[in-house]
Subunit: 605 residues, 2 copies
Amino acid sequence: MLRNVKRLLIGNPLPSQRAKHERLILPLALAVLASDALSSVAYGPEQILLILTQGNQDALFLILPVALAIAALIWVVIFSYRQLLQVYPHGGGSYSVAKENLGVFLGFLAGAALSLDYVLTVAVSLAAGAAAIYSAWPDLHVNRVEVTLVILLFMALMNLRGIRESGWTFGSPTYLFIGSMFILLGVGFWKLIAGVSAAASPDVLTVTHSLDWFLILKAFSSGATTVTGIEAISNGVAIFRDPQDQNARKSLLWLGILLAIMLLGMVYLTQHVGLSPKPDETLLSQLGRWALGGSLLYYVLQLSTFLVLFLAANAAFSGFPQLAAVVAKDGYLPRQFRNRGDRLVYSNGIVGLAFLAGVLIYLFGAETDRLIPLYAIGVFTAFTLSQLGMAVYHNRHRQSGWRMRAALGVVGGLLTGIVALIFAVTKFTEGAWIVVILIPLMMLIPYTVHAHYTATARQLSLKGERNLPRKQPVVAVVPVNAIHRGTLKAIRYAESISPEVHVVHIGIDAEETQRMKENLERWCPDVKLEVLPSPYHSFLQVFNEYVESLQQSHPGVFLTVVVPEFVPKRPIQQLLHNQTALLLKLQLYGKEGVIVVNVPYHLKV
Amino acid sequence: MLRNVKRLLIGNPLPSQRAKHERLILPLALAVLASDALSSVAYGPEQILLILTQGNQDALFLILPVALAIAALIWVVIFSYRQLLQVYPHGGGSYSVAKENLGVFLGFLAGAALSLDYVLTVAVSLAAGAAAIYSAWPDLHVNRVEVTLVILLFMALMNLRGIRESGWTFGSPTYLFIGSMFILLGVGFWKLIAGVSAAASPDVLTVTHSLDWFLILKAFSSGATTVTGIEAISNGVAIFRDPQDQNARKSLLWLGILLAIMLLGMVYLTQHVGLSPKPDETLLSQLGRWALGGSLLYYVLQLSTFLVLFLAANAAFSGFPQLAAVVAKDGYLPRQFRNRGDRLVYSNGIVGLAFLAGVLIYLFGAETDRLIPLYAIGVFTAFTLSQLGMAVYHNRHRQSGWRMRAALGVVGGLLTGIVALIFAVTKFTEGAWIVVILIPLMMLIPYTVHAHYTATARQLSLKGERNLPRKQPVVAVVPVNAIHRGTLKAIRYAESISPEVHVVHIGIDAEETQRMKENLERWCPDVKLEVLPSPYHSFLQVFNEYVESLQQSHPGVFLTVVVPEFVPKRPIQQLLHNQTALLLKLQLYGKEGVIVVNVPYHLKV
């Protein structure tokens, strides 16, 4: 039954050889990989404004300078990834680059930071996607958390089925979003030039912060969430047509251009229209309503925003399981992350990511603003480490132009590192402290896991070739509470595998014991019933002591406990029987040197 | 660890021979057994008033006649139980009496009705006990459900520890309650005669029902909950000193006198003081406040009410598990109800009762008024059946005076039957429908259980003595994914129990397979590696098909699957390993003719 439900949700198993990618032409590949980066326009600019409006009215003029600084940051990251692709033309995650060039410790730091950020990408993107929807259809606002969780569940199932990253399905929403954004910006600037006034007068601000450097840096770091997602292109090199690295580098340029235009355009319009953040409508939606009115175009904008955010979250569902599989392959994460499911996807990584993202969404009420302080530290840490890794690489290999490239790596790394630091400090009390605590804790995982695997491999190894297991005589013990077809089958089995069989019974009722003795003598004359006295009702303890005494008197044998058990026709009927066999198995499970056999007797009715 | 928690909560195991009762002198035995019956005074009279106040002011004069009718009913039940004790001097529950004299079907009806009422006794008594407390200390009103559930949990643990029904601990609260009630009634009547007016003027009634027979009958049936608990004396005969039956019969008389005085006294005072039910204070507490003021005596009254209700609920914790054990002994309930735990109590019955009562308390918000419509139908059904059973008994045995006794049984039975019917009809829409549906459904349980046990016993029986299990050759299959100490131990074990060993591997990686072949040849030259091709990743299915083909080619053998498994030092480390062994066991569990052996390899680190 369970299997059928699984089939229905996940689909039939796929043969192993079908695990390969289709390759896409540049514009399509760009669209597929850019959703993560572009979608951050949906919440990044709003975050700048959200912080600046905590200052006085004067603070608002800072929005454009802050946005310009972020655009500059975008280009730093774009250039350093272009550098990276020259060295690692097949793409390379921060984890691999850092581990290779900076050592295991910093590799783990990058891995932990990235993992946390994958989880937050899912949570933030889905929350922002939900916000796009309820901005357009306010009635849906009520059950935000539930709606977001249902979408997450759907996404997890979709990924467990194994979606093929078909170019058109994944590329078209991105182009739809880009198109809507350009129409929005075009109409917006036209209206601005034509002198159409703002639809709504800006709300009077409640000043909660004085305008100081802290506020400006905070606004900057909030807006820096727009930079997230650029790394997706270098991780996804595999889907580009040849020459892969060149196409990927071109894509990065295009991505930088698109991202800068959208960010700056949106911020400029926002400032000049005089919009301010509202709790129940996103800034992008307000801008859309102002520019496009209630027209169809506005709804297309909102829907495409949702779709591109959905794809951004979905990108994490291919990124995280792959990262986990790579780390697991190195022996630093539980090896279950390497298991491909029936549908050839890394099911455990998918389930794990969905679970963690679900917890975050639930805890933070699916509110983007509350999730943002946790976000982006990981991304900027990973940026920093991969750029410093590149610097070390160039310093080591000293190919032509290495000085320039190493310097670029150091500068870029320091810059993004400073952003991470600004983020951690300015957002510390609002949630960044969680990340600051979590990342070091997460770094303990790979060390613990690796230590266990090494210890296991050493113990299982056949290199020290003495004391190897040998054939040994078998001694069988059969605990019985009555003589019937079920226990008789178990006794016969014990006789079949062993020349020495002990049939034991815990005596509580003398009369019953006598009857059993006679019965056993009649059906199995070669074995004797051994009766163990039990002053207490707990028979498990008495049996345990008996087994231990046998172990002592029979060293060097395979001591085998043969447990008779009947299997009812319907599992529910199991409830009508004492679970002695189960308890016995649990009790003996941890016992060294004891082997447990279940002899099932199948009931027909 | 779990075991230690259990020890702490439940205590150490007790030796089996300590399962016997201490015997008590009459006044003490009466007190121990009467708590259930007497405690119903705490809610019964209030229920009458609650219904009558739905009519107009005129309806209130009916409270005394209704109470008189209930007092008469009490005496009918008292007399019929005195009759019953003459025939069953060692006591007998309705289930046994009905089953013996009226047949299995009506026996099950009595059993189902009684079981349901035990659950309701717990729920109603605890809810009413909580009400007694928060009437005196209104601050505790807020978390009523939680407080009641915590008390229930405490009671269940106490019973799992096995309380000895020590006379003084259990008897003194009853006497304290009786004493407080008599002081209340004494002071009350003195004040009434002295002409002290009511403390509070009665509220103006909102008339929601016209005064008709339906309302009167409804009030009567609500008040009839006062009759519950009388059967406890006949169930508890064992604790009386000899001559047991005579002492028990005397106790019944005393109980009837006490119950009648308390009920009528309370009702008379209530009517003449002009009190009416309030949602946040019980009637008894109102009466107490009026008569005793804020004196210590008032708080003693409330506390003793709580204690006596607590004991009433506790009585169900010895009644239900015993009933379940008796029915299970007859083969009509899962035999786990017969298991005595470490502390010699019927643990499963206790846990089951606590769980069901907890569900009821939670669903009905721990409100007595809402639970009452479900209560008492069961008790009156059981009364009816045991009295009709007595009538049949006398008609069969025809001892001296049998006509008179049989007639009394029939009349008593009809009377209580009519009460049950009135209850079911007048309370139908308020919750009695649940009971009317539940009881027949519960009656299906014994039939289903018995059918399964009979079928099982028939299949396990050795009477048809052909086709008995015989010694058979053993064929062993060892699935391996690598050659190491763990799998080698499993292969050696397979070689030790069987001359024919198949070591199989699901081939996914050709290179790995080749390495395994060489390794196996080196360490175990007598066995060959069989490689099964797997087009899919799911190795379970491939292995399953292999086992099936072996079954077909080797009929009449004990086919044994030897599963290598390593046991890490700490259970948590299990998470770092693939759960292949577990999945394999689950897969093979339902498979007829296959025996599964686990060969554990214990890791040291």
